[in-house]
């Protein structure tokens, strides 16, 4: 698959970011609100769960703003150890129960308070969610079917996405005939086919072997450059976050809280190649130290 040249999106943060890795992580201040409402805004969001008589604070006072950049979206990685509330944060954006609604604070998407799930915030889950009764083609068509698109049109759109994720020739297979990586390709194609302005990904590659994981990371970046959606990507893998993210939201917990936003340059190499670069390894080391420095929880 061919990568579109970054030059055609001049205002994207990817291009503003420096061309090499040295000293390239600065802490980002959330800027003042412009005329265009931010893509996503959290205002002092907390989420508490009641488990029997016990109370569990999943998120504590989380605030951040993702500004609306013209014609492009940011790739934001939510990084932190298990139990730090990354998934809770993601599902609050998605509007999915039981994490939604927040116990206090406000979740705004496009300036409006989130009322529930919607196709503008489509989600890829870690668990395989391909519908077992549908072929690859029918799975990818699912969201388009719901939108009421005519058959010919949705077939065309679905087929183009199937090609983009590299599943051509597998259109008529059922999920049970697919490997884990292929199922996640189906999920990605199905999600992107509805053209969401925000793509939510909850450790989508967590269950894949390293080889497949690298391939999927590269594929995802290619697709994202074309889509220009804002991506929220939950992971507990530091290298994954360092490779994928324009920005990394570092989280600690429990109780889950957002401790730092780190801006990162976007590497041109493949995930495998970039790991041998010294400056990339420095970024990874720094992220690691930040995680271990401020949290009792160890990251693997």
């Amino acid at each position: 698959m061919e990568n579109p040249k970054p030059a055609d999106a001049a205002s994207c943060p990817t291009d503003e970011s420096p061309k090499n890795w040295e000293g390239k992580f600065e802490e980002v201040e959330t800027g003042p609100q412009g005329a265009v409402p931010p893509v996503v805004q959290f205002k002092n969001v907390s989420k508490e769960f009641q488990r029997g008589k016990e109370r569990f604070l999943a998120l504590r006072d989380v605030s951040f703003v993702v500004e609306n950049l013209p014609d492009c979206g940011e790739f934001i990685c939510l990084l932190g150890p298990s139990g730090c509330g990354k998934s809770t944060l993601l599902r609050l954006i998605a509007g999915l129960e039981p994490h939604f609604p927040p116990s206090s604070g406000e979740v705004l998407v496009g300036g409006k308070s989130v009322a529930g799930p919607g196709a503008d915030r489509a989600m890829v889950f870690q668990d395989y969610t391909s519908y077992p009764n549908r072929t690859v083609l029918k799975n990818v068509e699912f969201g388009l079917e719901i939108q009421g698109k005519p058959k010919a049109e949705r077939r065309e759109i679905a087929n183009s996405w199937i090609t983009k994720v590299g599943l051509q020739g597998h259109e008529n297979k059922y999920p049970y005939e697919l490997s884990g990586g292929m199922k996640q390709r189906v999920a990605i194609a199905r999600t992107l086919a509805v053209r969401p302005s925000i793509v939510l990904m909850d450790e989508p590659f967590g269950a894949l072997d390293p080889e497949t994981r690298y391939a999927m990371q590269e594929l995802l970046i290619d697709l994202w450059k074309e889509m220009q959606s804002t991506v929220f990507f939950v992971t507990h893998s530091i290298t994954e976050a360092a490779y994928l993210g324009d920005r990394v939201y570092l989280m600690h917990g429990p109780p889950g809280r957002l401790v730092e936003e780190i801006k990162l340059p976007r590497p041109e190499e493949s995930p495998l190649e970039v790991e041998s670069r010294a400056d990339f390894r420095e970024v990874v080391a720094l992220l690691k130290s930040k995680i271990h420095g401020k949290s009792e929880t160890t990251d693997r």
Partner: protein, 253 residues
């Protein structure tokens, strides 16, 4: 290996049967009144076929099952799906299904006779009452067993309530619903004989009842074999249909 043991099992039973019924009537271990010999049973096939009108009896029994069970499916499946989707419907139906699944079904025969008289409707409604509680319960369970993640995925792709019901819950519950219908059909087959033993003019149960009263007793054994054969054949056929309809449910085999 398994098939060999199965054949061996059948052979052993036949051999035992033959052994306890061999010789002249006076010398046998079991008297012919208790258990006729295999040869005597086979000799009665002709009279079962012609005098007792076997094929017509099968037809009568099957028709009653199909109407009764069909009615249970037509009413039970939509109710079960509704109960799977709406807690309030589930709560309303629960006492009814609990009753129908736990009541001794045979005890309902006198009541159905009171309500529906001696005709065909009594048989059909008996089968219906015997099965509908199970159909509703199993269908509800099938809908409730659809994994939450499929529903959540649909909602993040823009699905509204009716999309979730028609495009997620029903299609994903269908294999389990069909599977339970297949198993319940065997139940219906057992119940029809019960109903026909009490009161019937035709049917497999009727043949058994007449043979017990007037003979030949051999017909009882033949009908038992015929019922088992039909039930097994239908079950295998439905299983085959199930595999054709839902190939993705049988991936591991």
């Amino acid at each position: 290996m398994a098939i060999g043991l199965q054949i061996g099992s059948v052979a052993a039973i036949l051999l035992l049967w033959y052994a306890v019924t061999a010789g002249s009537p006076e010398d046998r271990i079991l008297s012919p009144l208790t258990l006729p010999s295999p040869g005597e049973v086979l000799a009665q096939i002709k009279s079962l076929w012609f005098d007792a009108a076997l094929t017509r009896s099968i037809g009568w029994s099957m028709t009653r099952i199909l109407f009764g069970f069909g009615l249970a499916a037509v009413i039970g499946i939509p109710l079960g799906i509704l109960a799977g989707c709406l807690r309030s419907v589930e709560a309303v139906l629960r006492p009814i299904t609990v009753f129908l699944r736990n009541v001794p079904i045979a005890a309902l025969i006198p009541l159905t006779l009171v309500w529906f008289g001696l005709g065909e409707s009594q048989k059909v409604f008996f089968i219906f009452i015997a099965c509908v509680g199970f159909v509703i319960f199993d269908t509800t369970a099938a809908v409730l067993e659809v994994d939450e993640r499929f529903v959540q995925t649909a909602t993040t792709l823009g699905a509204k309530r009716h999309h979730i019901v028609w495009k997620v819950l029903i299609p994903l519950a269908l294999p389990a619903i069909f599977n339970s219908l297949r198993l319940l059909f065997g139940l219906a087959f057992g119940y029809i004989v019960l109903a026909e033993l009490i009161d019937a003019k035709f049917g497999l149960g009727y043949i058994i009842q007449i043979a017990q009263r007037r003979g030949p007793r051999e017909h009882i054994y033949l009908v038992l074999f015929v019922i088992t054969l039909i039930a097994f054949t239908i079950e295998r056929f439905l299983f085959w249909v199930q595999k054709k309809l839902f190939p993705y449910m049988f991936a591991e085999e």
